[in-house]
């Protein structure tokens, strides 16, 4: 028991360390901003006085390390400072901008994950069970196609088919704070469908590959020689040993749902956090960019940590040392 706790603790410490390094990277990359970005934010016709006031406002007159720790301390509390779009008298806190967006993205991600993950793993298991059959070959070609095409292609095709030609769903996904469950689902149907198609393909292929990889092991041959049925071989011999890579790919795709769904958000004009990041990049709204980047990093590191822990948990050599 002692050994696993040490390993878990090590992994956790590594995750926190990585997060810190990433925060430094995020912060310092923005410190590389070319000098006249103040003008880019305020507009070309800004007077020198306004520029200096602005720079004071965002604290560029203080040393970098001091600014970093301030920012980090604030971030831990949940306060990411003010957006560059705020003006004296009309302050806009970063948290207020990002908060609702994050909630929206999480809703979309949650709905998609609930459908896509179980579906992908089951389909992957079936494909591994019936490998090289017609079912497998068709699925292989279909998923290969889906992961090759850009997401906006899938999105627009679905819109064309399901919102324009045959008006089943809405093509714009608006979200209001007090929407009921049914209305939410109706509005989000198309983006959820698009995202599901995009991530199912990847997870399915990896599940199939992981299981087939394990099926080549000597103990699977032994199971065949013991007369174990193909279904039991996949479920009781292969799957337990394939959990680690499957968990890894699920974590990756979960992270994608939160972080990489920005294209989908733009296509469906869905107010998510990906869109917030893109807008902030375009307007050089540094505090928002930093906050979004940090949140994304946190998500990614956290999900990878879970996948790592699952890999450790399913490895008997680590769980029960000699």
């Amino acid at each position: 028991m002692h050994a696993i706790l040490t390993t878990i603790f090590e992994r956790l410490a590594m995750a926190v360390l990585t997060l810190l390094i990433v925060s430094v990277l995020i912060f310092s990359s923005v410190a590389l901003l070319p000098g006249d970005f103040a003008k880019a934010v305020l507009g070309q016709s800004a007077t020198p006085a306004t520029v200096i006031a602005f720079e004071q406002q965002i604290g560029l007159d203080r040393p970098a390390t001091e600014r970093y720790f301030d920012w980090l301390a604030g971030a831990v509390r949940g306060d990411f400072g003010n957006s560059f779009a705020s003006r004296p008298g009309a302050e806009r806190r970063v948290v207020d901008i990002i908060g609702p967006r994050l909630r929206n993205t999480l809703t979309l991600a949650g709905l998609t994950a609930a459908i896509a993950i179980p579906l992908a793993i089951s389909l992957g298991l079936l494909a591994a069970l019936w490998r090289n059959s017609w079912y497998d070959r068709i699925i292989n070609a279909a998923t290969l196609t889906t992961i090759s095409v850009p997401e906006f292609f899938v999105a627009y095709v679905l819109i064309l088919l399901l919102a324009v030609k045959f008006p089943v769903f809405r093509s714009l996904s608006t979200v209001r704070p007090n929407m009921g469950m049914v209305e939410t689902v109706e509005n989000l149907a198309l983006p959820v469908l698009t995202l599901t198609l995009v991530i199912i393909a990847h997870m399915m292929r990896m599940t199939r590959a992981a299981i087939i990889g394990v099926l080549g092991s000597p103990y699977v041959e032994m199971a065949k020689l013991k007369g174990v049925s193909p279904l039991k071989i996949v479920l009781r011999h292969a799957l337990p040993n394939a959990l680690a890579p499957i968990a890894s790919v699920v974590a990756f795709n979960l992270a994608y749902l939160i972080v990489g769904a920005v294209i989908i958000e733009v296509v469906f004009v869905y107010p998510g956090i990906g869109q917030a990041l893109v807008d902030a990049v375009r307007t050089r709204d540094v505090p928002v960019v930093q906050a979004c980047a940090l949140l994304f990093a946190l998500t990614y590191i956290f999900l990878n940590l879970i996948a790592d822990l699952i890999a450790i948990g399913t490895n008997p050599r680590l769980m029960h040392p000699r």
Binding site: L225, K226, S229, P240, N241, P316, H320, P321
Partner: protein
Amino acid sequence: MIIDPKAQEVLLNIIDLQIEAEADDGWHPIVNGLSLTLRRGEVLGLIGESGAGKSTIGLASMGFTRPGCRIAGGQVIFNGSDLLKLPKRQLRSFRGTRIAYVAQSAAMAFNPARRILDQTVETAVNDMARPRKEANANALDLFRELQLPDVEQLAHRYPHQVSGGQLQRAMTAMAMSCRPELIIFDEPTTALDVTTQVEVLAAIRKVVAEHNTAAIYITHDLAVVSQMADRVMVLRHGKEVEQAPTREMLSSPRDAYTKSLWSVRQMHKPAEPRQDVVLEIRNIDATYGRGAIKVLDNVSVSVPRGRTLAIVGESGSGKSTLARVVTGLLGPSAGNILFNGVALPPVLKSRTSEQLRQIQLVYQSADTALNPRQRVRDLVGRRLELYFGMAGREKERRVGELLDMVELGSRYVDRFPGELSGGQKQRISLARALAAKPELMICDEITSALDQIVQGEILKLLTRLQRATNVTYMFITHDIATVKTISDEVVVMNRGKVVQQGPKDSVLSPPYPDYTERLLRSVPEIDPDWLNRLLAARQ
């Protein structure tokens, strides 16, 4: 073991079996019209070199082929049904319950993610619908019969927590759990140490005899097959060479090939006395894991020039570690080494090019020792470039000479290792080492991964090379027969310590220190009563 073979009915009848394997250019036959008969309770030994098809035939007796192989013809009649014509579901029901298989490596055959007991009773519970409690109790009984220690504890362990010999016996229990009529043992002790092997052989023989199970015992080791089988069949290139009851086969083999298999064990080289010392290993300690595990403990060995020093021991004895210390791959934590009277820098990085040249290491498995993407010309020629600055035609000529020395010839110059056989690859390894004109060659189990006949050939080659170049060999091995064949002096190691060293004749004759005695006694002899005598002596 049975008394009157004719009284028992025929259990397995293989008629004209043909099996093909797939290569890039189509299907090639690997088993060519093999027939055999096995009666209830009888143990048949299948013996032959690798590539002879023994494993393939063993698996085919269950109606199974590995990916890349297919059964092209013939019949496998088990208790009246032709396994090759049965529908898949029925064939599956035979496996594990009526015919069982014991693999070569138990560590690989057990699922690492499930407990031992769980896997052992899997077939009994699923296919024979025995209640789990009964099956578990049954399995524990089998573990006890096979003389496993602490059966309750062991059953609930995971495979990696248990030693190789114990796991092999657990696998035998797994095979026996449904009381099958036939068990196929596929080289079950090949991967085990000699001293562990004895226990497993005794256990298998006992359990097979008590339950009157028929068995096919596959091995390449003549001494082992003579302990286990009633009848022996010799295979070559997928065909039967000869077949006879064990004692008859051993006392009067008829075919020339069979006789050549036997002759390997009879080679002996008279030991030559030493002249001067080329390498002096003094009080070496070595550790792994930042000083946690001591793998060498105060080891001192003196290596005579121009002679062969055999270092013999089982796995974990430290013999390979000693080689790594001498070559500089592992730095010792204490002690020093003198080469030609001069202190050798402990670590590779601090040695001169000349020092690197003079000591060469040849590996056990030529599969991993030769870069598969380099041709023979580059593999052998690189040392000529590095140490002697040779290039162009001069290098080409010298490479040809070296290939002649190892009895291959310059037509192999353009080949890749993948196109060579095991023995040929090992010769290339030797040529590569010789290219450096070394004074000392460390041979780390270089014949252990080869067939017996090829082993003999390589050993003869080594002797010829030594006579021609006066090179010194440090020959590391676990095989006593090889030691008898090739060495002038012997060092026996156990658990990182030197147990005994001296000229061959004095080490290999009594009186022995305890470990040496145990080691020598555990080596199977080509005598059907050897195991019986050993077990009797133990009581």
